[in-house]
Assembly symmetry: C2
């Protein structure tokens, strides 16, 4: 199945600005609701949302083997279940429909009216029903920074870190799409120097700059996925803010890991950018030394050059970029994460989500959390409006952006943006 | 809504032996498939499986506000969503239908033929689609035993343990019903005295004796559930074997908790016993000292007197009971677990499952895992066939049983039974 959709020379009859994350070479997938309360699966070109449910009803996917209501659903899970061959057929077809020289839809005003919406007129929903969500911890710089701050600066990495793509399970039920506000959590913390915990709003709510990938049905219980095949089971990627309450985390996480410090909310960008769309931006992963065990060994370019940045926007002033990082810094690749996750026979379903872990780069301005950027609150960050932040304040909005770019094109994710609301008052 | 179903004097026209876990006072809910490949929601009396889908089609639930296909589904999630009032109406109705003096179904042979099956002729399936699964760590004896073995015998409990019902997220996708065999997992371990990990089958696969509760939709994101209301959101309980690979766990779990050591498989008993059915078996929880923070304080009898036992059955000999414990030993109640889980606003959905954590009692024969029973493999257990076990051998079947009993009646869970198959060979 040739991947014709990636031709960098192709142009669309939908106008796309040069800075857009969504040229006709992207064709991400998402779910949106229109002003008329219609929920549909769709894609995006420039600032236009494309109703794929309407396209299907009008016969534009004829010849592709799809169930009749494939795109008239409120999640992408069934489409993702259909596998890589179908994803390519559909993405290629969409590219044909919107190619500048194809008059079929372009010149049919009636059809255009029910298919194409201004992004301003739709609301993005969660693109998948997430069955299980796993978060990894795969940035060596991040793990080293955390180890230096909280354990031994001389032996910052734990003994297992260079051998295992360390991961843990998270909570699916509180993953929300970009645009949905998040409440500061209440919880137990142990004030410094005290022996009795107290209850109240977290005083150190942080973001974590991550990406996440969405899987298709990959295996039955008991069947591992070899590292060399793992990418075939990855549908695409999103930006991910793994909101974290550091004071709650510190008190609760030994010995079974973070729990309430994380599961109050996690935010994702709403458009899933396919692995096919990211193909041109493959790069080498960092060298792995010591060599991992054989079930984790892989060849080729398994990292992706995705520019990432985080901004904080106070309620009544402009945003300030506080971090610039890149997905290519990840020590463990997504294929290695998925091979590790399944080597014991763990089943992976359509719509499962796996987070990268905080993506920190080598320089202090590329760290992926306030914890690291302010080094545990010791060095507050100055925002453009003159105020300072150790962590995130009430009514701040945290915005993650991500994009790939070369001479030919730019493929981006849009935004993962969410506002932190004050904590609920509990007696 | 009176809970008439609990009358201990009531008898059914379906014969029930005195030792049965399933008298007419139980009325648990489950999902089964018949020999004719019909999947339905059902209940059980004695050794009879009752097809509630057929009962609904024949009009036996008339007058109760239910969707037309409520019981013709392959999961209980929608029924559980309908809430406590509906659960009671349906359970009361079932009790009426099967009461010894009610001729309506009893004397209608045609109806009986399509409604009542021998348990031997049906296969039990997972009763719910589990969205999120959380496991707690709420037995003081278990946490103390683990602390003594792996940390400091003098300070076995970690500082947070008496303040927090410690919990962590698990994997939903590999939860299987009783009767489904489980493969010994492959994975990374660090052999004693070595610095480089090796790959291969786990050498220390263990059971964990647990119960679990199933929730209904309880809250929106951001809304805590008060401890005094928490039980209204618990539909019922099952027996739970949280299979664990101790050698994999030891190497992977610091700092983010157990992952591949647990998510290869977890087994549950297939009948959900409702909280209403357990009402007569309430007892006091162990005293909590220090007093927990106010959001965790509760009054009344919040523990349940549920006898639990674990057997190991080698492939070609009889089973040996290796542990006798009781759910009443739990330090933290289910209400406290649910109140804690949601105090930060974490959303709870219909069909979510929460495990108790290993339930160990005060005496060595009441410990809930081989790790504790053999004290880390130091004191192997002798089985009735003369063989010894440090952990679970290939082709052993682990059987958990549980029941409540007083002078009037016995309400039980049946079995959670699963066989450990040899590991898959991986090159």
């Amino acid at each position: 199945m040739p991947n014709i959709a990636n031709d960098p020379k192709r142009k669309s009859w939908i106008e796309v600005s040069k800075e857009s994350d969504f040229p006709i070479q992207n064709i991400p997938f998402g779910v949106f609701i229109t002003k008329e309360d219609v929920i549909t699966i769709g894609t995006r070109i420039g600032d236009s949302a494309i109703d794929m449910g309407a396209l299907q009803q009008l016969g534009y996917f004829e010849g592709i083997d799809l169930t009749d209501d494939m795109f008239m659903q409120d999640t992408l899970n069934d489409f993702i279940s259909d596998g890589k061959k179908t994803w390519r057929l559909v993405r290629n077809r969409l590219v044909e429909i919107f190619s500048i020289d194809n008059p079929k839809l372009r010149d049919n005003k009636k059809h255009c009216d029910v298919v194409i919406f201004d992004m301003k007129d739709v609301e993005m929903l969660l693109p998948v029903q997430i069955g299980d969500y796993t978060d990894f911890y795969s940035s060596k710089e991040h793990a080293t920074n955390v180890g230096k701050m909280f354990r031994d600066p001389e032996n910052a990495l734990l003994p297992n870190w260079l051998h295992i793509p360390v991961g843990y399970h998270g909570r699916s039920s509180t993953i929300v799409p970009s645009g949905v506000s998040v409440k500061r959590p209440n919880g137990q913390t142990l004030p410094p120097g005290e022996t009795q915990p107290v209850f109240g709003p977290s005083k150190s709510v942080d973001f974590e700059l991550e990406t996440a990938f969405i899987t298709t049905d990959a295996n039955l219980i008991g069947e591992p996925i070899p590292v060399g095949e793992a990418e075939d089971y990855i549908f695409g990627m999103v930006l991910f803010n793994d909101w974290s309450a550091r004071d709650i985390q510190k008190w609760e996480y030994v010995p079974l890991g973070p729990f309430l410090a994380k599961n109050f909310a996690s935010s994702i960008s709403p458009w899933i950018v396919t692995m096919d769309a990211l193909e041109a931006f493959r790069v080498k992963s960092p060298e792995q030394n010591p060599a991992p065990l054989s079930y984790l060994q892989q060849t080729g370019d398994n990292a992706f050059d995705i520019n990432l940045e985080v901004s904080i926007k106070p309620e009544s002033s402009e945003e300030t970029v506080v971090s610039k990082s890149n997905f290519k810094y990840m020590y463990w690749s997504m294929s290695q994460q998925l091979a590790h996750h399944t080597v014991n026979g763990c089943r992976i379903n359509s719509g499962d989500m796996m987070g990268s872990g905080t993506i920190s780069g080598p320089t202090p301005d590329s760290f992926g959390s306030m914890l690291e950027l302010t080094w545990g609150g010791k060095n507050p960050i100055k925002l453009n409006d003159g105020t300072e932040r150790k962590f995130i304040n009430d009514n701040d909005t945290v915005i993650i952006r991500g994009y790939c770019e070369n001479e030919d094109m730019r493929i981006g994710f849009g935004e993962c943006s969410s506002k932190l609301l004050p904590a609920l008052k509990i007696k």
